[in-house]
């Protein structure tokens, strides 16, 4: 496939992720949408790396995956702590910082 189809796919996947974060009310599904966005960026990085024939883009994908793993662990721990407090994962119920 040419470069443009990979980048186009990446753009569409990213927007689907954005829509998920904007529209869903379950915090866990919003978090999964963030993973979708990270993956969309990874596709673009790998495609550009292949386009230029270098490996630096693939190294960057590797680092993005490591950061995503760290982010998932901490984020899910935050959701567990929030669930203990509020007994729900519905983001419309979280208003601790609203006054």
């Amino acid at each position: 496939m040419p470069l443009a189809s990979y980048i186009g796919l990446s753009a569409v996947l990213f927007v689907i992720g954005v829509l998920g974060v904007l529209l869903k009310r379950n915090a866990l599904v919003m978090f999964m949408s963030i993973e979708l966005m990270l993956n969309a960026v990874n596709v673009a990085l790998a495609a550009f790396a292949r386009h230029h024939g270098g490996l630096d883009g693939q190294i960057f994908v590797f680092f993005v995956m490591a950061v995503a793993a760290a982010e998932a662990a901490v984020g899910l721990a935050i959701f567990i702590a929030l669930f203990r407090l509020r007994k729900t994962t519905d983001v419309t119920e979280f208003n601790l910082m609203r006054w």
């Binding site: 866990l28 999964m32 024939g53 959701f79």
Partner: protein, 172 residues
Amino acid sequence: MSLETLLASFATVMALVSALLVVWQRSAVVSALFLVLNLGSVAILFLTLGGEFLAAVQVIVYAGAIMVLFLFVIMLLNPAPPKQRFASGPVVTGLTFGLGVVFVAALVRGVMSLAGSGQEMSAVGPGYGSTRSIGELLFTDYLYPFELTGVLLLVAMVGAVVLARRQHHEEV
């Protein structure tokens, strides 16, 4: 049509459909399973881009470790499926989807404007994207970022334990 193109097209369609279903599903568990499908499709795309190491890491780390963590937390918390599919009413939801379509159209148009300027992938050697070549780069040019990633993962691990620990207010 070569096998590679066929595989890439198949993975593209799978990735798009599964991503839409992640957002569309009401149940968090089903969303998570479709996300696993999406991550698998992206792994196939990495393969067609010559990233065999990345494809393996994608399956092991993302589809394996991270998604198991997600499913574990979903089943631990077991939140009731919401009555509504989306947080807002139909008008706001429709408007957001419309804006999304406009955004995609703008992005794709931007990508297509590149179409004339040498879009063909450059030729690469047989060792491109192999574990060996990635490893060589990681331990030479990218040594410090690589070591810092180790520290980051340690911090994340400690942070997750501290955050998820049950706090005994009466004892402290």
